[in-house]
Amino acid sequence: MTAEIHKESSSKTNPKLFNVWLLNIGIVMLFAGLTSAYIVRRADGNWLDFELPSMFLYSTIIVLLSSVSLYYALRSAKQDELGGVKLGLILTIGFALAFCVTQYLGWQAMLDQGLYFVNNQSEGEKVSASFVFAISALHLLHIVGGIIFLLVTAVKAFNLEVHKKNTNLIVMCNTYWHFIGLLWVYLYLFFYFAPGF
């Protein structure tokens, strides 16, 4: 049935891959909304600008590395090197988990500086840190979704179902993963530079 649908349809794009792109657009809007909220709220004053813990820089580097390893998996799949596919996916999952750890450590570092998610009036705290916590946590939720996606792809890869003639899944996985990786890079740069304006 599905095969027929594709044969008859007007475009060569795989509709499922297309759906991943649309999902990404939705996610862009979510974070565009949230970072705009940050800007609007900051412009209102009564705001504390603070320096981002350096841990988040490590997150950024790790997420970029994970994209490289996932791309390696995709390229291997296209060349039918099944070993490379597995290695690439395992590495990516490793980097992804490391990303989660650095996020946790980054939050810890913020807490150590007295920047809390819930700010307390009697302590004279400001709302700024709440934004960073909330936005990065929502991003991490998307990373968790990505990890599940990676795991599914890895299971298929270990069942030898990801190869030259069957790259759909790994292409979709790449599309989503590079996207949320880039999204983090954007968020990092945003949190890094926004206080300076």
Binding site: P15, G26, M29, L30, F31, G33, L34, N120, L138
Partner: protein, 626 residues
């Protein structure tokens, strides 16, 4: 290709559950959306009649209210807090559940595959999920009416602090939490659906179905889905921050607050206005998410029943695109009185008034299509014309409100209530009804009863104007919206008779919908059997067999050779030509008339400004294929 037999096999294996409950067939999902939407509509309307009774007869006791609402209506009089709850849930149900999911969900599911020529949606599974998220969301929302502290009561726009502080009032507690859960499920549903609609329109059109040959319904439903994809995530973000404020004690939307009984709160530094920005960034596109499918349906129904090509196909598409784009940069007109910078207010004022231009283009095109048409007054056509009337009446008051200086006076009065109930509420309901009457034969294989349809139309039309038109005058006189009763202030007492009129008209409208319900449900079993193409329309859905089959077409999917509006084409025997009819040289003809200004038929056109003007208008906005 043995498609036909494959489908027949498929058919046999279907169980009751896979056919009627967890169906992945877009036609069944469409009916599920429609029927759920109708049920929600009945509930929403019932609520409105309940609170209208309170407004018209504030001192009278209605035992039926006590019977319905129990301790929320002691001695047959609505409790003031519950009145606010009813208003809130009524608005939420109508805006999201009936006119977003009920309207887009029904017609996008039915028409996108059928009119584009696809066997189903890009992902039938996601499509099924979309419905079940919607169903779950409806259940959660309705359940909030039954919790001990009552449903959310701060209005459908759930502004903080009433929505952000669980202790602010009764409805701010469990009711508000359930409201938020319901809306998050709803957003999931509409994103799943919307992604699918977009993907199907862009990727799965049949051979020959170029974007410029798409029926306007599809354009409208497609752009509606795009609007949803771009705006619902922002509401999701805003809603999540609201949940953090409620659950964890953050202060995104809360600044220093002193709460009766609880003293000064720990919250500090937040901004309730921030929520309004996030809300209306969705909220305004949302109103176009509601009206655009109705406009698309109207384009189709009017062209079919005027037996004329839709006037200005290209202009219709461009104005839909314009509306879609502009709707993202006007949200501030809901916030003129929040103390925004006057410069910013002026910017929003300008963009808001510009949006009247594409809206007017659409209206004029409808009128021009009707002009000298060979009109068939089917039930669907009556409602489509009704939409045009409502869209004009309500659009005009939008221009009043768009002027910031006037809006400072009119904001939060009944004038706003009148504006949006006419331009959105009534117009979209009329569009939805037009669609139901028009595509009922496609959905159920039978026709609805025509005389009952007329009765339904006239009662609804008269009641809608009687209910909402007088509200303009109340609003101009300063009567505020969302008040439980107007008996305390003598200035408002003068409106007592008007309130009685409005409520009586609302009850009339309610009775009209009972007629519709009877007609709708009884026709499913007892209606006259429909032929394959009862309205003699040109689009692809009417080439499918009356009996639904999985995969829509028994053999191959038809190829499309022409646009959707070849009605009353000179030189043809019939007054409609199916999109599947091969066309001897549509392209060539097009080419010729556009490049040779001295074509014989143009020679004897007299010179003169008006003629030139119309020729130009026709050249730019009309379609050369007409």
């Amino acid at each position: 290709m043995s498609t036909a037999t494959a489908h027949a096999d498929h058919h046999l294996k279907e169980t009751f559950i896979s056919k009627y409950v967890f169906s992945m067939d877009h036609k069944m999902i469409s009916k599920q959306f429609l029927i759920t939407g109708i049920i929600m509509g009945v509930i929403g309307m019932g609520m409105s009649i309940a609170f209208r009774l309170q407004l018209a007869w504030p001192d009278t006791s209605f035992p039926i209210l006590e019977w319905l609402f129990g301790r929320w209506a002691p001695d047959g009089k609505l409790d003031p807090g519950f009145y606010m709850g009813l208003v809130t849930i009524h608005g939420t149900i109508m805006v999201f559940y009936v006119l977003t999911a009920g309207l887009s969900g029904t017609f996008a599911n039915l028409l996108i595959p059928l009119q584009c020529g696809a066997r189903d949606m890009a992902s039938p599974f996601m499509n099924m999920l979309s419905y079940w998220f919607f169903f779950l969301s409806s259940v959660v929302l309705l359940s909030s009416v039954f919790v001990e502290t009552g449903p959310a009561s701060g209005g459908w726009t759930i502004y903080p602090p009433l929505s952000a502080l669980p202790k602010a009032m009764a409805g701010s507690g469990a009711g508000m939490t359930l409201w938020l859960v319901a809306i998050i499920l709803f957003i999931a549903s509409s994103l799943l659906g919307g992604i699918n609609y977009i993907s199907t329109v862009l990727n799965m059109r049949t051979k020959g179905m170029t974007m410029t040959r798409l029926p306007l319904t599809i354009w409208a439903l497609f752009l509606t889905a795009v609007l949803g994809l771009l705006s619902f995530p922002v509401l999701l973000g805003g809603g999540l921050l609201l949940m953090f404020d409620r659950g964890f004690g953050t202060s995104f939307y809360l600044s220093d607050i002193w709460l009766n009984g609880a003293g000064a709160l720990e919250h500090t530094g937040g901004s309730p206005i921030l929520f309004q920005h996030l809300f209306w960034f969705l909220g305004h596109p949302e109103v176009y998410i509601i009206i655009m499918p109705a406009l698309g349906i109207t384009s189709e129904v009017i062209a079919v029943n005027a037996r004329k090509p839709i006037f200005g196909y290209t202009a219709m598409v461009i104005s839909l695109l314009g509306i879609a784009f502009l709707s993202f940069i006007v949200w501030g007109h809901h916030m003129f009185i929040t103390g925004m910078n006057p410069m910013l207010g002026t910017a929003f004022l300008i963009t808001t008034l510009i949006i009247a231009v594409p809206s007017a283009v659409k209206t004029f095109n409808y009128l021009a299509t009707l002009w000298r048409g060979n009109i068939r007054f089917t039930n669907g056509m009556m409602f489509a014309i009704g939409l045009v009337s409502m869209f004009i009446s309500g659009g005009l008051t939008g221009i009043f409100l768009g002027n910031a200086t006037l809006d400072i006076q009119l904001h939060d009065t009944y004038f706003v209530v009148a504006h949006f109930h006419i331009v959105m509420g009534s117009a979209a309901i009329f569009g939805m009804m037009a669609g139901i009457y028009h595509w009922y034969p496609k959905m159920f294989g039978r026709l609805m009863n025509k005389p009952l349809g007329y009765l339904h139309f006239w009662m609804t039309f008269i009641s809608a104007y009687l209910v909402f038109f007088p509200m303009h005058f109340m609003g101009l006189a300063g009567v505020p919206r969302r008040y439980y009763s107007f008996t305390l202030l003598p200035e408002y007492g003068v409106w007592m008779d008007v309130n009685v009129l409005i409520t009586s008209a609302a009850i009339l409208g309610g009775i009209a919908q009972l007629i519709f319900l009877y007609n709708f449900f009884s026709s499913i079993w007892f209606g006259k059997k429909s032929s394959e193409n009862p309205w003699q329309a040109t689009t692809l859905e009417w080439t499918t067999p009356v009996e639904h089959i999985h995969g829509n077409w028994p053999g191959e999917i038809p190829t499309v050779h022409r646009w959707a509006y070849d009605y009353s084409k000179p030189g043809y025997e019939e007054d409609f030509i199916m999109q599947t009819t091969p066309d001897d040289g549509q392209e060539e003809q097009l080419f010729e008339t556009e490049t040779s200004p001295s074509a014989p038929d143009k020679k004897d056109v007299p010179e003169g400004e008006t003629v030139m003007f119309w020729a130009l208008i026709k050249k730019w906005f009309g379609s050369a294929r007409a």
